[in-house]
Symmetry: D2
Subunit: 279 residues, 4 copies
Amino acid sequence: MHILTLQCPDQPGIVASISTALLEFGANILENAQYDDPATNTFCMRTRFESPMEDDDEIAGKLALRARSLHADLRVRREDRQPRALILVSKYDHCLIDLIYRWNVGELGADIALVVSNHGDLGDTVAHYGIEFAHLPVTTETKAEAEEALLDLVDRHRIDIVVLARYMQILSGGLCAQLAGRAINIHHSFLPGFKGARPYHQAWQRGVKVIGATAHYVTADLDEGPIIDQDVARVWHSHTPEQLAIIGRDIERVVLSRAVKAHAEGRVFLLGDRTAVFA
Amino acid sequence: MHILTLQCPDQPGIVASISTALLEFGANILENAQYDDPATNTFCMRTRFESPMEDDDEIAGKLALRARSLHADLRVRREDRQPRALILVSKYDHCLIDLIYRWNVGELGADIALVVSNHGDLGDTVAHYGIEFAHLPVTTETKAEAEEALLDLVDRHRIDIVVLARYMQILSGGLCAQLAGRAINIHHSFLPGFKGARPYHQAWQRGVKVIGATAHYVTADLDEGPIIDQDVARVWHSHTPEQLAIIGRDIERVVLSRAVKAHAEGRVFLLGDRTAVFA
Amino acid sequence: MHILTLQCPDQPGIVASISTALLEFGANILENAQYDDPATNTFCMRTRFESPMEDDDEIAGKLALRARSLHADLRVRREDRQPRALILVSKYDHCLIDLIYRWNVGELGADIALVVSNHGDLGDTVAHYGIEFAHLPVTTETKAEAEEALLDLVDRHRIDIVVLARYMQILSGGLCAQLAGRAINIHHSFLPGFKGARPYHQAWQRGVKVIGATAHYVTADLDEGPIIDQDVARVWHSHTPEQLAIIGRDIERVVLSRAVKAHAEGRVFLLGDRTAVFA
Amino acid sequence: MHILTLQCPDQPGIVASISTALLEFGANILENAQYDDPATNTFCMRTRFESPMEDDDEIAGKLALRARSLHADLRVRREDRQPRALILVSKYDHCLIDLIYRWNVGELGADIALVVSNHGDLGDTVAHYGIEFAHLPVTTETKAEAEEALLDLVDRHRIDIVVLARYMQILSGGLCAQLAGRAINIHHSFLPGFKGARPYHQAWQRGVKVIGATAHYVTADLDEGPIIDQDVARVWHSHTPEQLAIIGRDIERVVLSRAVKAHAEGRVFLLGDRTAVFA
């Protein structure tokens, strides 16, 4: 089984062109989703097909001419070659453990290659699951150096997705640019409400009746990146900020893993500051 | 703008065939959704396109050969020619008034042609909105006759959808068969829980913490038809059956109107006892 | 049946004092809820009881001494004497019609005494339900005068609650102060996100995956008043701002009516910028 | 801090009696919730208070006379003496791991004293967290014996709550009776829909659009016990039964832990086949 994703300026004949090409080498489409975004005039397509030809590059080669004529970003990958993820954590472990659990039972959609932390605390937990762990301390002085080291790990481990699973460090603009479109953060509020620090305390003070969490691509503008997924839970006046944090953890876990899975399965398309996410 | 829906046995080349045909007469696809159901080996497709050729029959003619060779049920309609709905009600008016409101502001997706009731009570309300009302009393003795009269109204008004908006009568097997796939009922429970009469009382007695409503196609098996949409709301132990009914009304309204809209826009595909509903 | 609400500085013995007093004149408590807010050191209590003594003032008299010694704001009213509501609207009618529907079937908890609008458009709709309608045009020049007239209506009609049901005018600071704690607004976003104008367009631009609505007390700070209720709905990338508005209307209706009902039934307590709302 | 729970036939003066008694020995009420169930004529009360007298038995002694005259089941416990839980599992580990995680960070409300399984598979996982594990195989022949052994463990470990965390064995009527009101099961459907085996497959076949999970007290009638909590998630036609199970796991985890916490904190009251659960 293969996953094809395509993004290009809208124009007539895209579906016909690609589906005909797939048919020509004997592929059979099992899932197909398109979206034509009027705001950016961009066409997005995701196709899942079985093919007698198994090699990704060979298939991509068959489609290259058409992709070029459509000015399309076209990608093909075997469904069983899952993207490789690097997870960044600090001390909070609930998202990390959840991601590892889902990876372990095969429902994450991505392969966890490495966990990196600015603290050593979670090393044992990670080791227990047989995942490599790198301790990369960050201070104001060493930040540039640490980010270099991180990028080096990204390269050496051929990382496709960087997941900030409650990583309490702000990435530099340069690093954000380098990881554009492949770094996903979970923010523990229903953005755009309560950006920045201590969102559950902010939520408590504003007296909201529903709290939430947001998974988004990382950009240089803090908590402003394109949103991939969000969810919420009802809360009561009697909840303290600490209890909001407990309830919120359940939302964070689910939203982050859904976002990672959607991205890993090629369901997320960037449309400027927005995303299209195919169900 | 046009809506094409197609349902046929799965086989390679469907998307290529239809999208190429559309391209040939200059149509441009704006939305396209497919689903290939493994359980029934059925392929479903919905395409929204703009076309220089405006006439539905002419377009259908251009696609007829391909449809035949795919053994497909293929339909095309201009988006601005909304399906015509007949609404059946008894005395409860909350769903009726909601459907009328949405129709009035143009968000229902269907055109309300006629309201039929076994009681006369809602005649004035319906008249206030300038919609035709027919009072069709039903007793055990007159049931067959009344159903004949109803079918006659369906024909004369060229009705596409019959909506049972809390209609308190059970349709005969014969009528269900005649309206198969084009009659939608709202049941005031989260099916398959609490079929039959007084579901809010049943829910209260079972002590559920969440209640719901279900919109489904009408079949001869009561409350067993293919489900189109469902939704729920949280309730508390202090709620009486009457309060459950009040909360439930809000769910019924939203679920029924969503189901009617989805059906009217060609988003619902029947797959045996199940449905596929495109977002 | 009677409703007692009490708010006072926290101190030992409040429950014992009030429940003993109720017992003394033969009242029987059917519902009782308390909340002790640590942040403001405020105690809130709502009690529903049946009493052989029927007169509100007489009951309040029996409790007056104890209330005074607790420095409490204590109120008693017969449950069947519903608060009187004035509804402010402009041209959008979905919340208005919903409030009227619920009032009509007896589920609103408040009595709609009057509808006031800066436009004449909805006069006929309101008249159809036998509710008094006042057309009070507002221009920059006449704003002060119009607000005077509004306050006059509030007084003359002995209004307890002013409901801004998508009223497109900003109230002056003076009017907000006069109506403090008894004016409820519906804002069509999930506050604190998307304050101010065109929140559905703002939501679309930010690319959120969930939209919402917020009912709050009106204060001089626009969209910053204490929140009474909120709710949300999931949306998709394919939704236009107009479709968000359609989906949002269903949330607005439900959230506003829930807030009005909670306030009318004495379930809402103001705690600085927050509220406690008893289920 | 102490938790008092009381359940008795409804009668005037209960709140006054108990709150006065608490005041007499200097207790200060911080939370108080009551519910008077009209269907069973039962009064339920939960009070959280701080007290200069710290010993549970001493406090209970002070209240004993009043409790007796009210024919009340009255219990008092120090909030920091959490109920002791025994968790029953088979091979599915998602609920177990979730319960352990919450216990580990102190948010479960109960103390996990022991995990018992009819399989040995999860022994290592449980040991990793320093929790005692007992392997208690069950066959048709040894069932009676195994249940004896289980009851013995319940006694020896002074267990307050038995949690069936996807335990794939049906308890005998005798064991159900012994554990009445203190054994909580998670069923992976939205009861009363889809009782019995393979509920996600049943749900898929019925084509529901929302799936759920239910935490309930264990009774001899399978999946018929009083419901403590339920929750749901929206699903799509494209989801296979296996994908429903993945989505369902997230609901199961949250619903079971919420039910255990509510029970452990004394928030759940049994009212025949229903429960009252205080927020």
